[in-house]
């Protein structure tokens, strides 16, 4: 039983660090702010959540210490990370940063027209 638990903890920690590494690769490789934001707001969220969950399980099952702060940390990251991604990309668009040149479609250009029509 303890071996299975140790396996799960190790898997969570390795998966979390691997996802964080992939986020870093994505930030280097992807072409513009918006696509980089995809990598940063998704992989980093799950990566950090996995690491925190592994830490929580280790201290709970191996040491018998229930640390509720780790649970709260997981919940806070889960709620706030997508909002942060949204705010960064919105601020980028409003300050006039254009999309990658190979982007095919941009419906947000029509927003001004839509608002004037329906005001």
């Amino acid at each position: 039983m303890t071996e299975i638990i140790r396996f799960i903890i190790g898997f969570l920690l390795i998966a979390g660090s691997f996802l964080t590494l992939v986020t870093a690769f994505g930030l280097i490789r992807l072409p513009d702010v918006y696509t980089r934001n995809h990598a940063a707001s998704k992989s980093a969220t799950l990566g950090v959540m996995c690491i925190l969950l592994g830490t929580f399980l280790f201290f709970f099952l191996e040491e018998g210490h229930f640390n509720s702060r780790l649970i709260l940390g997981i919940i806070f990251i889960f709620i706030t990370a997508p909002v942060a991604g949204h705010l960064i990309s919105r601020a980028t668009y409003n300050s006039g940063v254009s999309l990658w040149e190979k982007s095919v479609r941009d419906d947000l250009k029509d927003k001004q027209k839509y608002e004037e029509k329906n005001m």
């Binding site: 996802l19 992939v22 690769f25 994505g26 490789r29 992807l30 072409p31 513009d32 918006y34 696509t35 934001n37 995809h38 990598a39 707001s41 998704k42 992989s43 969220t45 799950l46 889960f78 709620i79 997508p82 909002v83 991604g85 949204h86 990309s89 919105r90 668009y93 999309l99 990658w100 190979k102 982007s103 095919v104 479609r105 941009d106 419906d107 947000l108 029509d110 927003k111 839509y114 608002e115 329906n118």
Partner: protein, 158 residues
């Protein structure tokens, strides 16, 4: 819904006072008995029996976690592929949701979905502008969001 929960707590406390035992065990027993009584008298309330809503919230949470894992796998594939053949773009998604918290929840869900990220919301809360990493399957993504997320959120707020 809040009224039903409050009534259920009241019934649980009533059970504790009838038993003259003020422990968490008797509170839980009283709560379960109160749940049965609230269910039996559900046609006298204005809203639905509140456990339906609790189940809807739990299923929405599970959907959240499933989408998070799927989106990570898809981002992983995009980043680690040797040749970068992505077609990013921004598309508009009309939504039927009305209140602010529903739209916030939908935007959060979309951000955690494979390959989509909310960039802006129109002033009348009717259109979400979504940046996607692959424009080829926009229609599919729209259908997906419409059918699964909006329905799940409506199930909670109904």
């Amino acid at each position: 819904m809040a009224f039903q929960i409050l009534l259920n707590f009241f019934l649980a406390f009533l059970w504790m006072f009838l038993q003259v035992s003020f422990t968490s065990t008797s509170f839980i027993i009283g709560y379960i008995l109160g749940l049965i009584i609230t269910f039996a008298f559900r046609r006298f309330f204005n809203s639905r029996f509140y456990m339906y809503r609790v189940f809807a919230v739990i299923s929405l949470l599970l959907l959240f976690i499933k989408e998070l894992i799927l989106s990570n796998i898809s981002v992983l594939k995009t980043i680690l592929r040797p040749k970068l053949d992505i077609k990013p773009g921004i598309f508009a998604l009309p939504t039927d949701l009305k209140s602010n918290w529903e739209i916030t929840l939908l935007a959060n869900l979309i951000t955690l979905t494979p390959g989509t990220l909310v960039v802006d919301i129109s002033f009348d809360n009717k259109i979400l502008y979504i940046h996607t990493i692959d424009i080829d399957d926009v229609d599919e993504a729209v259908d997906d969001i419409k059918n699964s997320f909006e329905k799940a959120i409506m199930e909670v707020s109904r």
